[in-house]
C-alpha cells in the first residue's frame, strides 16, 4: 500500500516516544489491572518493542504530535463514526431491496496527504464509508470501487464526494 516515489518525512524522537507510550498502553490494556509488577514488566517490554521496531518507525513519521492535533483527531473520529453508521444503513438498504440497486464503477480520487500513514488512514476510512472500497493507492491517486457511481463523474467530483470530508480533518493531525 505504501509508495516510495514521494519524499517521506523523517521520524523524530517524539515519534519514538509516541510508539513507546502506545505499546505501553496496549500492554496495560491487555493486562487489565494496575499491579506494580505488571507495570514494571510493561515498561521494559515496551522499551524492547520500541527499540526493535526502530527500522519501521518511519511509518509513524507522518503523524503531527502536538496539542493542536487533538481537536482535528476528535473531529475526524466523529466524522468517521457517523460515516460508518451511514455506510451500514446504506448497505443494508441495498442488500435488502429486491431490485439490488447497484451501479458500480472503479473511479479515481486525488489526495493531498503526503505521508504513507495519512494515505493509509484515508484509504481505510474510504473502505468503511458508504458504498466505497479502496482498491489501490498510486502516489496521490486512490483507485476506489464505488457501488453507486454517478455516470459521467470525473476525478474532481469524485474526490469532492468521497475524500474531502475526511481529508479536511485528517490534514490536521497527519502530513
Amino acid at each position: 500500500m505504501t509508495t516510495k516515489s514521494i519524499q517521506q518525512p523523517e521520524p523524530g524522537f517524539v515519534h519514538g516516544l509516541f510508539l513507546y507510550l502506545l505499546v505501553f498502553t496496549l500492554w496495560m490494556l491487555l493486562v487489565g489491572n494496575l499491579d506494580t509488577a505488571e507495570m514494571a514488566a510493561g515498561v521494559v517490554v515496551a522499551l524492547i518493542v520500541t527499540l526493535a521496531s526502530r527500522p519501521h518507525l518511519s511509518i509513524l513519521a507522518g503523524l503531527i504530535i502536538s496539542p493542536s492535533a487533538l481537536l482535528p483527531l476528535l473531529r475526524y473520529l466523529g466524522t468517521f463514526i457517523v460515516a460508518l453508521v451511514q455506510a451500514n444503513l446504506d448497505m443494508a438498504r441495498r442488500v435488502l431491496s429486491p431490485s439490488l440497486p447497484l451501479q458500480p464503477a472503479v473511479v479515481e480520487v486525488e489526495t493531498k496527504l503526503k505521508s504513507s500513514l495519512g494515505r493509509l488512514i484515508l484509504a481505510n476510512s474510504i473502505t468503511l464509508t458508504p458504498g466505497t472500497l479502496t482498491v489501490d493507492v498510486q502516489d496521490q491517486v486512490l483507485l476506489v470501487h464505488w457501488v453507486d457511481a454517478p455516470p459521467g463523474s470525473d476525478r474532481v467530483s469524485t474526490t469532492k464526494a468521497i475524500t474531502s470530508k475526511f481529508e479536511q480533518h485528517l490534514k490536521g493531525f497527519v502530513l
Binding site: N88, M91, L128
Partner: protein, 105 residues
C-alpha cells in the same frame, strides 16, 4: 442495563447477517467485499459494545479486539481487492459507466 446491552447485541447480529446476505446476493466479488467488510465491521463493534455492557470488567480487552477489527478488516479487504485487480479480475458493470483506467469488458 441488560436491555441496552441486548439491543446492541441484536443490532450487531442483524448487521452481521446483512453483511452475509450481501455476500450471497451481490453480483461480483468487489461488491461482495464491500457488503462483507462494512456490515460485518459495524456488526462486530456493536456485538463487542453489547458484551462490554454485560461484562464491564472486560472493557480493556474488548477495546483492543474492537480496534484490531476496525484496523485489520478494511485493510484486509483492500488488500484482497487490490490483488484481484492486479490479477485481472474485472469489476461487474450494469451499464456503460465510465471506468477510467479500466475497460469494463
Amino acid at each position: 442495563m441488560r436491555l441496552i446491552a441486548d439491543l446492541f447485541l441484536v443490532v450487531g447480529a442483524a448487521f452481521t447477517l446483512f453483511g452475509a446476505i450481501g455476500l450471497i446476493r451481490m453480483p461480483d466479488v468487489y461488491n461482495r467485499i464491500q457488503a462483507g467488510t462494512k456490515a460485518v465491521t459495524l456488526g462486530s463493534l456493536c456485538l463487542l459494545i453489547g458484551i462490554a455492557l454485560l461484562y464491564p470488567a472486560w472493557w480493556s480487552k474488548l477495546l483492543v479486539i474492537g480496534v484490531l477489527i476496525l484496523i485489520t478488516n478494511p485493510l484486509g479487504s483492500s488488500t484482497i481487492a487490490r490483488a484481484l485487480l492486479k490479477a485481472g479480475v474485472k469489476p461487474w458493470s450494469k451499464a456503460s459507466v465510465s471506468q477510467p483506467g479500466e475497460a469494463d469488458r
